[in-house]
Symmetry: C2
């Protein structure tokens, strides 16, 4: 999606360790007009697919998912991150490793909000190693729901998450795929 | 706002300890159509006020703030909660006590995203003792920004947060104010 790529080039900051900071428009300050264009684009890409509900994960997924939901006319469920192991039988729970924070957390969703047979569109801001998305896929599977597709704002194409998901037959639509980036030169190449 | 009150009556669950669960439509599963009506209502209430930016706090504030922002045509900044004390000089930081979780956390916002003179509309899902909102007010004050108003989905009118803010001269517009609720009878009275 050219608009998002241009915005990343303009306002994204490449940091050492393959970190891309997009906090001025995506995941701290949120450009809601841009989010609307992203929502329209996911709807265009997934126009052939039945979506009953959008599933995302706090915190950075919530804003883009809420705006995108307007184009699908569906509710959004956001998975919650928690450090405590929750033994509440009313929750689907799975463990996710955070690459950025070098830690492990649990991701939980109330069983009331995902039903067997639901067609889910999973939305998140980043796809790198795929841990967060795989956690949401685990929860969908536990609920007997179907993942109609995955919508990502920025995929780090040089990490393995996207490739692994597609090899499993999961449809992944990333609005910007970064082929490479260079912290020293401050360059970003899209693929 | 009648629509929200009706929805709270229909789908809200009163729990012991003055807890109101609205996770089926507000802060776990999100009813985006309802959020749009809430956004329109905040815009109607604050139509006389200059708003440059909406400030909210993760995670439950993000969805309602993102949808509401469409009616104000402004970006949203969401404050982040962190347990670690962040000595990064690029952040505004303040301490907030959580009533629900009986814990203390830090709330941080990058200095790049709130400027002196900004007119902020603060939005959040709940107002009870006011700790989260006061934390956001601290950050606004540190930045030299003006709080044009506070928009709340559900105010617990029997707790002191709303009264204290209004006594300080802060304009607070809550879409539903709960006067009392009873976990045993499952009743909710609006005021």
């Amino acid at each position: 999606m050219r608009l998002l790529e241009e915005r990343i080039r303009k306002d994204g900051v490449v940091k050492p360790g393959n970190v891309l900071k997009v906090d001025s428009f995506l995941n701290h300050q949120m450009d809601i007009e841009l989010f609307n264009e992203m929502g329209k684009e996911w709807k265009r890409l997934y126009s052939d697919v039945k979506v009953d509900k959008i599933l995302t994960i706090e915190a950075s997924g919530i804003g883009i998912a809420a705006i995108a939901a307007q184009y699908f006319n569906v509710p959004v469920v956001f998975a919650k991150k928690t450090k405590t192991i929750n033994l509440d039988g009313d929750l689907y729970s799975t463990e996710v490793k955070s690459f950025t924070h070098q830690t492990v957390y649990n991701v939980v969703v109330s069983k009331r909000f995902i039903n067997a047979g639901d067609n889910l569109l999973i939305i998140d801001d980043f796809l790198a190693n795929g841990n967060a998305i795989n956690g949401l896929m685990d929860i969908a599977a536990a609920a007997g729901a179907k993942v109609a597709g995955v919508g990502i704002a920025i995929e780090k194409g040089f990490q393995e998450g996207g490739r692994e998901l597609r090899e499993k037959g999961i449809r992944v639509e990333s609005l910007a795929i970064i082929k490479s980036m260079d912290a020293e030169k401050g360059t970003i190449e899209f693929g």
